[in-house]
């Protein structure tokens, strides 16, 4: 459970106000130790400062500290800065402003702020008994909190909440900017994001789109894919990869995967090329690019474009170059669970080809070259401004997140040595670990046992696409795809986030070890 700290508790702690501070210290420590979040209400800043300033006079007198009025002001701010360093600020919203018909506007603001949360997930930590009696469902005293059973925070498969906590000021600032300027479609954040993403990947052009799926569809449309054409890809991927091919009347040609990386086996691509082949579309599965040098070399020999389906790999590198800028076109997804995700659907296309960039920009907006002049058939495929604002906020700590993901992936690898085989990361490539995936036998039983141990898992993906009912008849399989079929039975993904703690990782691996034994 999270705690919103009432002024009296914050002042108890900051001023070492006896006899209250010790129990308040323990309550706050218990909250953070058990994975709860500590919030301070942004609307209370001034009250906090002036009440603490007043109280510090008493503390100083008791401790024999001499401070002038100006020094007292400085001491107050020093103390509050240290106190607030590990707390989260809860914004004061417009609806919490006009509270003047309330008996106590200050309390009313706090109640309104708390009511944004699901009941039972947060309480106001206070020693104001009158407030506790009036709103028992929202209040708790330090003593009550310390007596309550201690529950550890459950491990999340993807910790989006933890990420949001650390980005809340940037997210709120960006979202409010959009709400105020009101350009919800193609607002200034769209171009700003495209510029930053292009710069990040090194690609000349970035075109944001409505989703990762839309990115693939638009890319294929720009390449002129038509009914009967063939697109070589992997059967071991999310359905969108094949879906967009079939939507255009083309045929997905599936080539088997490597057993250790689960990426398309580049050595088997050439044999699948026919006169109808128009595109090679590898997927950077689990966040690691496929063997792009070999794939690009084949493509050059046959004069074929390559679309990297980088839905899971934005931020990864291949021989020092960024994923999304490894081939003719790169397509990524900003689905919320992706390494760089928004709070809805979103995606982006990257290319350094001016002609393709122009075509894809037009296709994104109904094939429109200029207003009401439709030079080609397109789609309504824009990414909205609010989602771009979210990604812009997340970009601010994305380098740190990628670094963390690499560290966590390496740590997992080390902890799993001798226990369970894991997806291999090849030299000269990095994975952003959109999924951290291991290979297990009797997967269902294993998932159930891990679930009992409080560890969520997922399967990416349980069925090779050539076996899916909608694609069985419309696809072509080149050679065997036995590896894909076998891996679909064995892969299992584990919790992965940039904020995954060492203690959580150890808990996951330990549970795994005891199960495997």
């Amino acid at each position: 459970m999270d705690l919103l700290l009432d002024i009296n508790i914050a002042v108890d702690i900051c001023s070492r106000r006896a006899p209250f501070f010790e129990v308040a210290d323990l309550a706050v420590a218990k909250c953070t130790t058990t994975g709860g979040r500590l919030w301070l209400y942004a609307g209370s800043v001034q009250t906090l400062e002036y009440v603490l300033r007043s109280e510090l006079r008493n503390t100083n007198a008791n401790e024999g500290i001499s401070a002038t009025v100006r020094q007292l002001a400085q001491q107050t701010r020093n103390t509050l800065q240290a106190f607030a360093a590990d707390k989260f600020w809860l914004a004061a919203l417009a609806g919490e402003g006009n509270v003047f018909d309330s008996t106590d506007p200050e309390d009313e603001q706090l109640i309104l702020a708390l009511s944004r949360f699901e009941l039972g997930t947060i309480k106001l930590l206070t020693r104001d008994i009158a407030l506790c009696e009036r709103y028992p469902q929202w209040m708790i005293t330090p003593q009550e909190y310390l007596e309550a059973p201690q529950r550890a925070r459950p491990i999340n498969f993807i910790d989006l909440a933890g990420q949001q906590d650390n980005l809340r000021p940037q997210l709120e600032r960006n979202l409010h900017r959009v709400l105020h300027h009101g350009q919800y479609i193609m607002g200034p954040e769209v171009a700003e994001l495209e510029g930053k993403l292009g710069e990040y990947t090194g690609a000349k052009h970035c075109i944001t789109v409505a989703s990762g799926t839309e990115a693939l569809l638009i890319a294929l449309m720009a390449l002129g894919i038509k009914p009967g054409d063939e697109v070589i890809t992997t059967p071991f991927t999310f359905v969108a990869t094949a879906e967009v091919i079939v939507l255009l009347g083309a045929v997905p040609v599936f080539v088997d995967i490597e057993p250790d990386t689960c990426n398309i086996d580049a050595s088997k691509i050439e044999a699948a090329i026919t006169p109808k082949t128009r595109v090679i579309m590898p997927v950077s599965l689990y966040g690691q690019p496929a063997d792009m040098d070999e794939i690009n070399a084949i493509a050059v020999r046959y004069n074929l474009p390559v679309i990297e389906d980088a839905a899971q790999s934005f931020g990864a590198e291949y021989k020092g170059r960024k994923s999304c800028n490894l081939s003719t076109i790169g397509c990524t997804s900003f689905f919320p669970s992706k390494p760089l995700g928004c709070y809805g659907d979103g995606g982006a296309i990257f290319t350094s080809d001016d002609g393709l960039a122009k075509a894809m920009r037009e296709i994104r907006v109904h094939g429109q070259e200029k207003r009401y002049v439709h030079t080609r058939v397109g789609v309504g495929g824009r990414m909205d401004t609010l989602q771009c604002a979210v990604v812009l906020a997340k970009l601010e700590r994305f380098d740190w997140e990628v670094e963390q993901r690499l560290k966590i992936g390496e740590r997992y690898n080390k902890l799993f040595v001798g226990k369970v085989p894991v997806v291999t990361q090849r030299p000269e490539r990095t994975s952003v670990f959109a999924q951290y995936t291991v290979f297990v036998e009797d997967r269902e039983a294993m998932q159930e046992k891990l679930k009992q141990a409080g560890i969520p898992t997922a399967v990416h993906y349980p069925v090779s696409l050539h076996l899916q009912p909608a694609y069985r008849d419309g696809c072509r399989v080149r050679g065997g795809v036995e590896v894909a079929e076998r891996m679909a039975q064995r892969v299992m993904s584990l919790p992965m986030s940039a904020d995954l703690a060492e203690v959580e990782m150890r808990q996951i691996v330990a549970a795994f070890g005891s199960i495997a034994d």
């Binding site: 218990k30 009025v69 100006r70 001491q75 106190f83 020693r127 005293t141």
Partner: protein
């Protein structure tokens, strides 16, 4: 003078109300020995919680006790700040009168 008071969750309340001259003053209270909790904490808390509380206490106290700049180097207290100080003293006074913590 000696007066009787009831202690309840951190507050002392006089059995017979008395009007005092100041909002804040030091009193000497006689606490029965058998009411004093001899354990360091009556709560069942993990060593991690106790360690965290101690770390936090040291960090806050260090910030509070950090050397202060010489008075003359600090910005003047403005009239606006003085007004706020008065306003928040009033808030504190009202809360104390209501028997609520400040």
């Amino acid at each position: 003078m000696q007066v009787e008071a009831i202690y309840k969750q951190g507050h002392l309340e006089f059995v017979n109300p008395i009007k005092l001259k100041h909002d804040h003053l030091r009193l000497v209270v006689l606490v029965p020995d058998d009411e004093i909790e001899t354990q360091s904490t009556p709560y069942e808390l993990s060593p991690d919680v106790l360690r965290k509380a101690e770390e936090m206490r040291q960090r806050i106290d260090a910030a509070r006790r950090a050397p202060l700049s010489p008075d003359e180097e600090l910005p003047e207290i403005t009239a606006k700040e003085l007004e706020r100080i008065e306003a928040f003293e009033l808030r504190a006074q009202m809360r104390r009168e209501q028997g609520r913590p400040v």
